[in-house]
Symmetry: D2
C-alpha cells in the first residue's frame, strides 16, 4: 500500500486524489494547497485526509511514500527535488519541468535514490491511445509517413505559459509513446494577440532522421474544438478523432503506390481505397489505469512508460519550440 | 460576344468550355489539345467547335478574342506570352506561372497590349467564399488574429509539381482575396515519401507585418478529405467547412477578452460564447460566375479581382515556399 | 428551507440528492433504500444524512417537508399517497404513475391537503428545451405542422416496463411542454424480441384536433445513439439534436409555400431556404434548475410547470399507447 | 443489341437515356415527350435520336425492342399494356403501377407474350444496398429484429401523389430486396397541411409473421435531409447512412443477450459492444448497373431481381398504406 501526498488541489488535483483513492494499492493520506478555498473543497470531499497549506508537511513527512505534484510547471523542480531527496517517488504533472536541465537533474537524483518518477502523460492510458499503440506496434500501418495533430479550442488561457507548453505536451507525449523515434530537429511558428508575450496560436514541425514528418497545430482561439490526429503509413492510415463519442479510432485501408517507371512522365500511380475498421477501445478512466501503473512500478520495481526520460523527451521539444518561436521559426536541432 | 479558344481539354478543360458556352456574352470557337483522345472527347461533346492539335492555330487565329490556357503550369508562360503578343485576353489556369519573373513579364505585356489577364482562382466565386468576403468586409469579425487552412485528401499525385503547387494555390488565392494584406515572410516545411523529390505533405506559415498569422496544411496522403478554414477575429470567428453539404460557413459569436490588470498574475480573462449564425450561401456554379466576370471585365474594361497581380501574389508565396522547403524551413522574406 | 427525504438511492437518486443539497432553500435530511449496498454508497457520499431501509421512516417523519420518490413506477402510487396524506410535498420520478386512475387520485389528494406535486420531467429544464420553448412561444415557427422525435440506443433494458414507458416519458413530457395542445388520439406499434412481453422497439403516432401530427420512435436495440427532434412549422423549422455537444438547437429559415391556383395541376410551389441560427443554450444542470423550481413553488405557492396534471397528461398517452400496442395499432381516443 | 424507346424526358428520363446509351448491348433509338421543351433538350443532348411527341410512335414501332416508361405513375398502366401487347420488354419507372390490379394484369400479359418487366428500383443497384444484401445474405446479422428507415427532406412536392407514393417506393423496394420476407399487415399514419388531400408527412409500420417489425418515416417538410436505415439483428446491427460521402454502411458488432433465469426479476442482460466495420462499397452508377441487368435479362432470358413481381409487392404496400391512411391508421392485412 503506497501512502501518497498530493500537492495542489486546483483543477486537476481532485482527479488525482479521486483516482489514487479508488485503486487497490494506494491511498492519499495528505493534501496540501496554498489556497484556503482549495483546502475547504478538499475537506468537503475527503473529511478524513490530512490537509495543510505547506507542501513541506508532505515533502518531509516520514509516513508518505510518494508525492503527486499537481502545481504549475515552474514549481515542479523545487518540489520534486525535495521529494526525491527525501526518497519519495514522484508523480509529476505534465510538462515534467520548465527546462531540460531541471529534468536531467531530477532523473539523476531519482536514480541515485532509487525512487520512481512518473510524469502524468494521462493520454497514454486512454483506450484510444492504447489501441493505436497496439496497431502501430503490430506493424499494421507499415512505415510511417507523417503524424499530424490538431488540438484547438477556445481557452483556457494560461497565465504563465504559452499555448505550446499548455496543449502540446499532450500530443508530444502521445507521439513519443506511439512512434518511438528520436526527433532530429524542431521548428515552431506562432503568434500572440494580447500583448502578453505568450503565443496563443502555434505550429510545430518535428523532423526525424528518416523522411517521416510530424506537425502539431495548437490554438487557444478556435471557436470549435478539434482534437484530431492523422497518422499516415505505407500500408494503412489511422485517424484518431477524440471528439467522437463512440468511434474515436479508425483504420483506413487506404494508400498510394507510385512506381517510377522511366522518367518522371511515366509514373504509375495506383490508389488503394478499402474498408475502414473502427476497433472498440477501452472505456476505463485513463487516470485510474495510470495510477495503477504507478503503484505497480513502485511495488514491482518496474520502469514507467511515462518515466522521467519520457518527460525529458517532451520538455526537450518544448524547449526547442520556444527557441524556434523566438527566432520566427529557426530550425533547432536536438 | 467574346470568341474564345481553349488550349487543353484534359480534366479541367471541359468545365471551362461548358461554362463559357453557357453564358451570354461568350462562346468557345476552337479547342486544342496535343492528345487525340482528348480531341475525340471534345468532338463528341461539341461537334461544331473547331478542333486542333496545335495551340498555335488558336494563338494565331485572328477570329479569336481570348484564350483559356488549361495546361500544366510549366507551359503557361510561353502560351500566355504568345496570346498576349497577339492581343488576346487570357484566362489562365492556376497557378498563374511557374515563377514570379514569368508572371511579371506577362503582366507588363498585357498592360502594354491593353488586354486582360484573369487567373482561374475558381474558389473566389463560390458562394461560401463570397459570403465570407462580405462578412469580413463589413467588419463582423473585427481585427483578424489568424487564418488556418487545411486541405488534405488521398491523391491526386501530380507528376511535375509538389503538393504545395497543386493544392495551396486554392487557399492562398482565397486568403489573398479575403484578407487583403501583404505577407511579409513565408516559411514552409514538408516531406516526400516516394523518391521523386516532390513533397506530398507540407505546411506553410505566412507572417504579416502585424501579429496576424496564416497557416496552410496541404497533404496528398490523408485517408480522409478535410477542407476546413478557421478565421479567428477579435469580435467573431468564422469556420468554413467545404465538406459540409448545407452548412458550409458558420460565424461564431465567440472570443476572449484579456485585461491585463497589474502584472502577469492579475489577468482578467473573460470568454464570450454566443450564438452561431449559418448564412445561406449562393449555389450558382463558381466557374460560371467567373466566366461572366471575365467577359464583363473585357467588355466593360474592368480589372478582374483575380487579375495577373492576384496570380502573381500567389506565385510569390509558392516560390517562397519552395525556397523555404529546400532549406528545411528557413524564413523567406517577401 | 425545505427539508427533504429521498426514497430510492439507485441510479438516479444520487443525482436528486446532490442537486437538492446544492441549492439554497432545500436540504436532504434522510435517504431510504431497501438495498444495503445503496445505503452504503449513500453513507460514503453523505456521512451526515440519516439513512434507513424503511421508506416509512421518511413518509411518517414530522421533520420532513417534502419527499422525492425515486423508485420504480409501480411503487409510486403507494409511496406518494402516504406522503400526500402526511401533508408532504412530493417530487416524483417520471413516469408519474402506472395509470391515469392513480395519477388522478394523487392530484386530488394533493389539492385537498394543499401540497405540491412535481413530476421529474428533467428535460424541461435543459437549456435546449427552454430555448426551444422560448422560440415556439414567440411564434417564430408559426403554426406547427409536425413534431417528430427519435430516441434510440442500445439498452438499458428495464425489467418491468416496455421501451415506451422507459423512454417516451422524456419526449412526451417535452412535447406537452412545448406544444401545449391536447392530443385527440393515439396509435402505437411495436415489437418485442426476447419473450418477455415487453416491447423493445416502438412507434407512437399522436393525433391532434387540427392537422398537426406527432410521432415518437423509441428503441432499445439501436447500435447508434440518436436523440433528435424535428419540429416543422409554417414559418420556420427547428431541429434539436441532443447528441451535439455544442450546437443542440438549430432554427432553419426553411419552408414551402403552396398556392393552389386552379385545380390540382396548377399548384404553385415555392421553397424558402434561408439562414440557419444556432442559439446559445444555457449550460446549468437541468436537475438543479428543477430542484430550485420545486422549492420556489413550495415557498411561494406556485404551480409547477411539471405538476401532477403534466404528469397525468403523459401517463394518459402512455396508457393509451399500451392499449394500442396490445391491439396491433388500434386507434385510441383520449 | 437492344433497341430502346424512352417515353418521358422530364427529370429522370435523361438519366435513363444517358445510361442506356453508355452500355454495351443497348441503345436508345427514339424518345417521346408531350412537351416541346423536353424534346428540345433531348435534341440538344442527342441530335441523332428520333424524337416524337407521340408515345404511340414508340409503342407501335417495329424496330423497337424495349420501352422505358419514365412518366407519372397514373400513366404507367396504359403505356405498359400497349408495349407488352406489342411484344416489347418494359423498363418501368417506380412505383410500378397505381394499383395492384394493374400490376397483376401487366405481369400476366408479359408472361403471355414472353417479354420482361423491370421496375426501376434504382437503389437496389447502389453499392451500399448491394453490400448490405451480401452481408444479410451471409447471415452476418443473424435473425432480424427490425428495419427502421427514415427519408426526409424539404420538397419536392408532387402534384398527384402523396409523400408515401413519392418517397416510400425507394425504401419499400430496398427492404423487399434485402429482407425477402412477406409482410402480413400494414398500418400508416400521416398528415397533410396544404389542403390538397395529399399527405406530406407519413409513417408506415409493416408487420411480418414473426416478430420482425419495419417502419418507414417519410416527410417532404423536413429542414434537414436524412436518409438513414437501421437494421437490427440478433448477431450484429447495420446502419446505412446515405448522406455520408464515404462511410455509408457500417456494421456494428453490438447487441444484447437476455437470459430469463427465474421470473421477471431475475433477467440476466448482457450487452455486446464490439468493433465497427465500414466496408468499401462499389462506386459504379446504380442506373448503369441496372441498365446492364435489364439487357442481360432480355438477352439471356433471366428474371430481373426487380421484375414485375417485385414491383407488385411494393405497390401492394403502397395501396395498403393508402387505405390505412384514409382510416387514421387502421391495420390492413395483406
Amino acid at each position: 500500500m503506497i501512502k501518497m501526498g498530493v500537492i495542489g488541489y486546483g483543477y486537476w488535483g481532485p482527479n488525482i486524489v479521486r483516482n489514487f483513492m479508488s485503486i487497490e494499492n494506494a491511498g492519499v493520506v495528505a493534501i496540501s494547497d496554498k489556497k484556503e478555498a482549495a483546502l475547504a473543497r478538499a475537506k468537503k470531499d475527503y473529511p478524513d485526509i490530512q490537509l495543510t497549506r505547506h507542501s513541506d508537511d508532505i515533502l518531509n513527512s516520514p509516513k508518505i511514500d510518494a508525492v503527486a505534484i499537481v502545481t504549475p510547471v515552474y514549481t515542479h523542480f523545487e518540489l520534486a527535488k525535495k521529494a526525491l531527496k527525501n526518497h519519495k517517488h514522484i508523480f509529476d504533472e505534465k510538462p515534467f519541468t520548465a527546462s531540460t536541465a531541471e529534468a536531467e537533474e531530477l532523473i539523476e537524483l531519482a536514480e541515485k535514490n532509487k525512487v520512481k518518477i512518473m510524469v502524468d502523460h494521462t493520454f497514454l492510458f486512454t483506450g484510444a491511445v492504447r489501441k493505436t499503440k497496439e496497431i502501430i506496434k503490430e506493424g499494421a500501418l507499415g512505415d510511417l509517413y507523417y503524424y499530424d495533430s490538431t488540438r484547438v479550442n477556445l481557452g483556457l488561457f494560461q497565465h504563465d505559459i504559452n499555448v505550446i507548453w499548455d496543449l502540446a505536451p499532450h500530443d508530444l507525449s502521445i507521439m513519443d509513446f506511439l512512434i518511438e523515434k528520436k526527433p532530429s530537429a524542431i521548428l515552431a511558428t506562432g503568434a500572440e494577440h494580447f500583448g502578453r508575450g505568450l503565443e496563443d496560436v502555434a505550429y510545430i514541425t518535428v523532423f526525424f532522421d528518416d523522411n517521416m514528418i510530424a506537425h502539431f497545430n495548437v490554438n487557444w482561439l478556435s471557436p470549435v474544438k478539434i482534437r484530431m490526429t492523422l497518422i499516415g503509413g505505407e500500408k494503412k492510415m489511422l485517424v484518431w478523432n477524440d471528439m467522437e463519442q463512440d468511434e474515436k479510432v479508425k483504420i483506413y485501408d487506404r494508400g498510394v503506390n507510385i512506381t517510377n517507371k522511366e522518367g518522371i512522365y511515366e509514373l504509375l500511380v495506383s490508389y488503394r481505397s478499402g474498408d475502414i475498421w473502427t476497433p472498440r477501445v477501452g472505456q476505463t478512466e485513463a487516470l485510474r489505469l495510470e495510477a495503477r501503473h504507478f503503484t505497480d512500478c513502485i511495488l514491482n520495481d518496474k520502469t514507467p512508460v511515462n518515466d522521467g526520460q519520457a518527460g525529458l523527451r517532451v520538455v526537450k521539444i518544448l524547449e526547442a519550440s520556444d527557441r524556434s518561436l523566438k527566432t520566427r521559426g529557426k530550425l533547432v536541432k536536438i
